[in-house]
């Protein structure tokens, strides 16, 4: 289920050359802001929860997820070099699993780890704020990576659709229409984060059972369908 060569190629496509620096800039910014806030405000649990919830989980994790998830397969399909990969004696789902694992790893490394560090800087994990948001970020990384990897195999405009989902659906509609929050990876992740640590400052609109079931369902279905999609992929040229 895991092919080291495909993993290495995906890893290089995601982090090769200067891309790692750009991906690293976002977490760095979060940590810088955390330091600034700590200096300005001092350790405050509510501020820490607001910052981690608003900036880290709502903005940074989805964006890193979009970059890693679609970046793991999108550019290869885009420039047609995916045929060299597909013509190797490897099962298509295996390619997807490998790419998914790499995408999850990259998303976790660049979003959950900085979230934890920022949480520690902000209030030294008071009321479990840092740990609960880190758990939420870890869970969200898995779902986002699977979802956006699927988008990468389905559409040429995967990045735009991924961003529309993350920013317009989750952030805009989620804040206006309460029903939209049930179908939001962010809320599912918050539910898990809330339950795991029992922190009072991290809340979600979804119950833990719903959240877990939906998270697992989305991840499994997206991965399965991406595998199916790759089996019947027709390489297309640039419009």
């Amino acid at each position: 289920m895991y092919d080291p060569t495909v993993a290495r190629l995906t890893y290089r496509a995601l982090l090769g050359r200067r891309r790692a620096l750009i991906l690293g800039a976002l977490p760095l910014l979060l940590i810088v802001i955390a330091v600034v806030v700590r200096v300005l405000v001092g350790a405050d649990d509510q501020t820490a929860a607001d910052l981690l919830g608003g900036l880290a989980l709502a903005t940074m994790v989805p964006i890193i997820g979009v970059i890693a998830g679609t970046g793991a397969i999108g550019p290869e399909i885009d420039d047609g070099s995916v045929v060299y990969l597909l013509s190797k004696p490897l099962k298509r789902p295996k390619i997807i699993y490998t790419k998914l694992i790499v995408a999850i790893g990259v998303t976790m490394a660049f979003s959950a780890v900085p979230t934890f560090v920022a949480g520690l800087i902000l209030n030294g994990n008071g009321q479990q704020v840092a740990v609960s948001y880190t758990v939420a970020a870890l869970v969200a990384s898995i779902a986002y990576a699977a979802l956006f990897l699927l988008l990468g195999t389905v559409s040429r405009h995967a990045v735009v659709f991924g961003l529309v989902y993350a920013l317009v659906w989750e952030a805009l509609f989620g804040s206006l229409v309460p029903g939209a929050r049930t179908l939001s990876v962010q809320q599912w992740a918050l539910a898990v984060g809330h339950k795991v640590t029992g922190g009072e400052l991290i809340t979600s609109d979804v119950s833990l059972t719903t959240a877990t079931v939906l998270l697992i369902a989305v991840t499994v279905l997206a991965t399965w369908y991406a595998g199916q999609k790759l089996r019947t992929l027709t390489p297309t040229g640039e419009e």
Binding site: I33, L40, G54, T59, I63, G71, V159, L163, L167
Partner: protein, 306 residues
């Protein structure tokens, strides 16, 4: 034995190769024409005109999403005979910033990344245009496209305000202030979008990078402003730090400029925008950023080989 040929003989023999090529003696349209063509081509391309049906979907959709709320507001104003529009002209772009961000993120890489990826940039420069022409044409095209998507809703609002017989001078003033503000916003966003997407030949990566710069900077700035605002509430004095933080994100920069000079109500937390004095700094920052983006693009395209 080699026979030494006289030049006259060479000329006589070479006639056999003259198969009637003629030199072009028609009108040469020149550099300005090439620049105009590149401009109109890029502008049409930003709305998917002249491209496949699939690439028309997104820009047109975003354009519709920008205009529909304006139309609804107008309808409500006319129907309820309200005394003023539900939103200020200057505030509309701030409210709809997510859509504008998505538009610039999807169209800026479209304008420059494909030329880089398919290595067609040297072909442009084989025409009588220079680096500055290419950069100017692309910059102007994207800024015009952005101006269209931000100004048309304002026109809709203004038209509706006239239909609803709102105060003419008041509305016209607000409308013109709104136009100036979106013109600045278009230039600024186009510059930022182009600089980022010219750095990478990968379209997808360019889109994500542009949106990351726009949303993360806005998220960071508004979070910090909210915290600074809450802090000053505790201290019981008016906020001084909060407006200055607005310098660090494009949309809050525009917000600051229009609050200081264009009579807008600030969207900053607490509603406290920069004063006129501080507004000068904001305006300088906006103009400096636009000029800086232009300079960076010129530097990027100085090497034609790429």
């Amino acid at each position: 034995m080699a026979v030494e040929q006289t030049p006259a003989q060479t000329g006589a023999q070479s006639r056999i190769h003259n198969i009637g090529y003629r030199s072009y003696d028609g009108q040469r349209l020149g550099r300005a024409y090439a620049r105009r063509s590149l401009y109109s081509q890029s502008l049409r391309g930003s709305y998917g005109l002249g491209r496949s049906a699939k690439s028309k979907v997104l820009p047109m959709l975003l354009f519709a999403v920008m205009c529909v709320p304006a139309a609804i507001m107008v309808a409500v104003t006319v129907a309820t005979k309200a005394k003023e529009l539900p939103v200020e002209y200057t505030n509309y772009a701030i409210v709809m910033q997510a859509v504008i961000g998505l538009y610039v993120a999807s169209q800026a890489p479209q304008a420059v990344s494909r030329d880089l990826r398919f290595k067609t940039v040297p072909l442009y420069f084989s025409r009588p245009i220079e680096t500055s022409d290419y950069v100017r044409a692309k910059f102007a095209a994207l800024a015009s496209a952005l101006f269209l998507i931000t100004a048309v809703p304002l026109v809709v609002l203004y038209g509706g305000a006239m239909l609803a017989k709102l105060d003419f001078t008041d509305q016209t003033k607000g409308f013109l202030q709104g136009l100036v503000s979106v013109a600045l916003l278009s230039l600024l966003f186009a510059g930022i979008g182009l600089v980022i997407s010219a750095a990478t030949p990968r379209r997808g990566f360019g889109i994500a990078a542009v949106i990351a710069v726009l949303t993360i900077s806005y998220g960071a700035v508004s979070t910090l402003q909210a915290i600074a605002d809450a802090q000053t509430m505790v201290d019981g004095q008016s906020s001084t730090a909060a407006p200055w933080i607005g310098l660090f994100s494009p949309i809050t920069l525009i917000d600051g400029v229009q609050t200081a000079f264009l009579g807008a109500t600030s969207s900053y937390p607490g509603g406290v925008g920069p004063s006129t004095g501080a507004g000068v700094v904001f305006l300088l920052a906006v103009l400096g950023l636009i000029a800086g983006c232009y300079g960076l693009l010129m530097r990027r395209y100085r090497k034609v080989g790429l």
